[in-house]
């Protein structure tokens, strides 16, 4: 009884204390930023010390350069970044500044998460076209760098097998490429080509839709953005996916993995279709024998995917002017070069590329900058892209595993078109 009375007294006392203290609501400006002048910035870079070091330098320099705004950085690991954004958007707690994978931007803009970027025109025009995210002719995002794919090979291996070394001006035709992999397989490589098919997710659209586009197909009819019919299941698409299926059936490629470029470094495959991010290790492993070759011309010219991570400003940002001031400040060439050299990515301005140890005219990876400028094609700027991408991945994997090409593509087209219809055409 005594104990019960004590408990009741304690609860009553706590309630009275709250009432007497005039418990008021916590003071904050209610925006997606923190305190006055504070601009919250989210990156997907947790676990990437090189990238974070450059961000920290930019933020320190910006915060020291003026007293009106203060950037507060929060870092998320890439793998869980989209979940964090989705949750924050649902709770209306998005930060002012956020980075995003280029092809996702139109979906976020359409969902009302982003506001137009509003950076100076001269800054935007100085950037590589695929590092600028446009949705319905409005710029919503811009990036410090670009990535690019190429085919890694050993010069000695190509010479030994009498295979022509392709150039950006004269890439391999599909016939030449088929002859090359057939010869490499006959001369000792059990699997001559690593297409990276052990990977999953966005890689599939990023890596293989450019091949489709090089054949003449596409993920969607870019003229209307309202249907994939004819683009993803037309004769060109069927032609490409038939080749894709044959590449696995003939044993030219497999999906055994591991993901990455290790099989090429170990000389277990002769050709590796991979990205600039694997170039540094390949250089270290293969040395001067390494060739960075342009992608294959499937008929309509070589293509590689464009659009890497880019920065945007959330729609609810109360300090949008400060966010713009920060972004404008951050696009200095010295920072772009720092990103390029720490991350081994292609800087988004020519001046930054010239100053880079890897991508300058004499840099060991200059070829990637050339390939990006010549062949990069952004993924379709439609809010339906996430569905297009996952549908494409499923269809391509089914075809790789032996599914009938045309009917699989028809099914994929139906899935994409159904999504577009259910969203009333995503505003197109």
């Amino acid at each position: 009884m005594k104990r019960k009375s004590l408990s009741i007294l304690a609860v009553a006392g706590f309630s009275a204390a709250l009432a007497l203290s005039g418990c008021a609501r916590a003071s904050h400006d209610g925006s997606s930023s923190g305190g006055p002048g504070e601009i919250t910035m989210w990156t997907h870079s947790a676990g990437n010390p090189g990238e974070l070091a450059v961000y920290q330098q930019i933020i320190a320099d910006f915060n020291a350069s003026q007293s009106q705004y203060k950037i507060v950085q929060q870092n998320f690991p890439q793998g869980s970044y989209n979940e964090a954004i989705t949750a924050a958007a649902a709770a209306r707690k998005l930060p002012c500044l956020l980075d995003m994978d280029g092809p996702v931007m139109p979906n976020w803009a359409w969902a009302g998460h982003l506001q137009p970027l509003g950076l100076p025109d001269d800054l935007i025009s100085s950037l590589l076209p695929t590092t600028v995210g446009r949705y319905k002719d409005t710029v919503y995002s811009a990036g410090y760098w670009e990535a690019a794919l190429s085919i890694f090979a050993r010069k000695s291996v190509l010479d030994r097998n009498s295979i022509r070394i392709p150039t950006a001006d004269k890439p391999w035709t599909l016939d030449e490429f088929d002859v090359a992999v057939t010869r490499l397989k006959a001369n000792g490589y059990t699997t001559p080509l690593d297409l990276g098919a052990a990977d999953k997710g966005e890689w599939w659209s990023y890596a293989y839709s450019p091949m489709l586009q090089s054949t003449g197909g596409d993920l969607i009819d870019r003229g209307t953005m309202k249907t994939a019919d004819g683009a993803l299941n037309g004769p060109d698409a069927v032609k490409f996916f038939t080749w894709f299926q044959q590449a696995f059936k003939n044993g030219w490629a497999d999906n055994a993995g591991p993901v990455g470029n290790q099989r090429f470094i170990d000389d277990k495959v002769a050709l590796s279709y991979t990205g600039v991010w694997n170039a540094k290790d390949a250089l270290a492993g293969v040395g001067d024998d390494l060739l960075i070759l342009p992608p294959v011309d499937f008929g309509k010219g070589p293509k590689i995917g464009g659009g890497s991570w880019q920065w945007g400003i959330s729609a609810g940002c109360k300090n949008a002017d400060g966010a713009r001031a920060y972004l404008t400040f951050s696009f200095q060439d010295k920072y772009l070069t720092a990103f390029a050299d720490s991350q081994v990515v292609i800087p988004s301005t020519t001046a930054a590329a010239k100053a880079s140890k890897y991508f300058s005219d004499n840099g060991a990876l200059h070829q990637f900058a050339v390939l990006s400028q010549k062949f990069a094609l952004a993924r379709p700027a439609t809010p339906g892209y996430p569905v297009i991408s996952s549908t494409f991945e499923k269809a391509a994997k089914d075809i790789m595993s032996g599914a009938e090409v045309k009917s699989t593509l028809d099914t994929a087209v139906r899935a994409i078109d159904t999504d577009i219809s259910s969203q009333n055409g995503y505003g197109f």
């Binding site: 008021a24 609501r25 949750a87």
Partner: protein
């Protein structure tokens, strides 16, 4: 009664085969752990090259603890471990108390609607967490909270970015309530009646009779609550923005950059698996006996 020598030899042989089979199974189940630890000592290139052969399970080649120091460079692993330990301990501790009390109320007390409540609790088990995650984020972002601001007690809305958002939604657990209710129902009601005659209240019966007699059930619930709490990934990915509050599993994603740091992943998983192994070994006997008991009586 004597056993014929031939029969004895046969029994020994039979036992030998059983031991051999069990040893084989033990090795089979140990392979992933051995692979994880051995790989944590190798550079990335060697791990990938060794995969597919016996070398993957042997500490051969360029062996060092470099991956472990790399983990500390990339991830605040100590902080993450402490966060997970705190969150998990509170979920398990509070869960044992609250779910056992709920189970006791359902199992031993007689009240109207008891069956309906139990049915609703069991029905919650078929709802996958993923389907309610986003609505829950919205919900927790609207909950009131008390803060100390400039020496004054103030209120605000939103539990995001806190420990409580990682703990409170997971304390009450339908499966735990069901398991406790099942276990308590095996204790003879005559004990309750005797205690009631002696003047004991329901809480005293719960505390002094039901709890001491239900050790295996508590151990089972503890371990079954511990594992998902320790392995939480999706929820903290959504509701925790501050790195200082993140648990260990979210830290795993730090290693999946454009190039995956396999050696560091193995070192990290070796570090974060250790507490799980310790808990399992500590509760193993009680866990097995509880599973056996509930299997017979459930």
């Amino acid at each position: 009664m004597t056993v014929h020598p031939v029969e004895r030899v046969l029994r020994r042989r039979q036992r030998l085969w059983i031991y051999l089979a069990m040893a084989g199974l033990a090795v089979f189940f140990l392979f992933p752990l051995v692979f994880m630890f051995v790989s944590s000592l190798k550079p990335d290139g060697q791990i990938l090259s060794d995969v597919g052969g016996w070398r993957a399970f042997l500490p051969l080649g360029d062996i060092s603890f470099r991956n472990y120091s790399g983990v500390f460079d990339r991830v605040p692993v100590g902080r993450f471990l402490l966060n997970s330990l705190f969150v998990t301990t509170v979920i398990v501790g509070a869960g044992l108390v609250i779910n056992s009390m709920a189970g006791f109320a359902i199992s031993r007390l007689r009240w109207t609607g008891r069956g309906v409540v139990l049915s609703i609790i069991i029905a919650t088990l078929i709802v996958p967490f993923e389907t309610i995650a986003v609505p829950m984020v919205y919900w927790v972002s609207q909950l009131p909270t008390l803060l100390l601001q400039n020496g004054q007690l103030v209120y605000d809305f939103g539990w995001l970015d806190s420990y409580e958002v990682q703990i409170v939604p997971f304390i009450a657990n339908g499966f735990s309530v069901f398991l406790f209710a099942q276990y308590f129902s095996t204790i003879p009601t005559a004990i309750d009646e005797a205690a009631r005659i002696d003047g004991a209240g329901w809480f005293t019966i719960y505390r002094k009779i039901a709890v001491p007699l239900s050790g295996p059930a508590f151990a089972t619930v503890a371990i079954l609550t511990f594992l998902p709490a320790w392995n939480q990934y999706l929820w903290p990915s959504m509701v925790v923005q501050d790195e200082n509050l993140r648990p260990v599993m979210v830290g795993m994603q730090y290693f999946f950059q454009d190039n995956t740091a396999w050696g560091e992943i193995m070192a990290y998983t070796s570090m974060i698996t250790l507490p799980v192994l310790v808990v399992f070994l500590a509760f193993q006997r009680a866990f097995v006996s509880s599973v056996a008991a509930s299997g017979v009586k459930g």
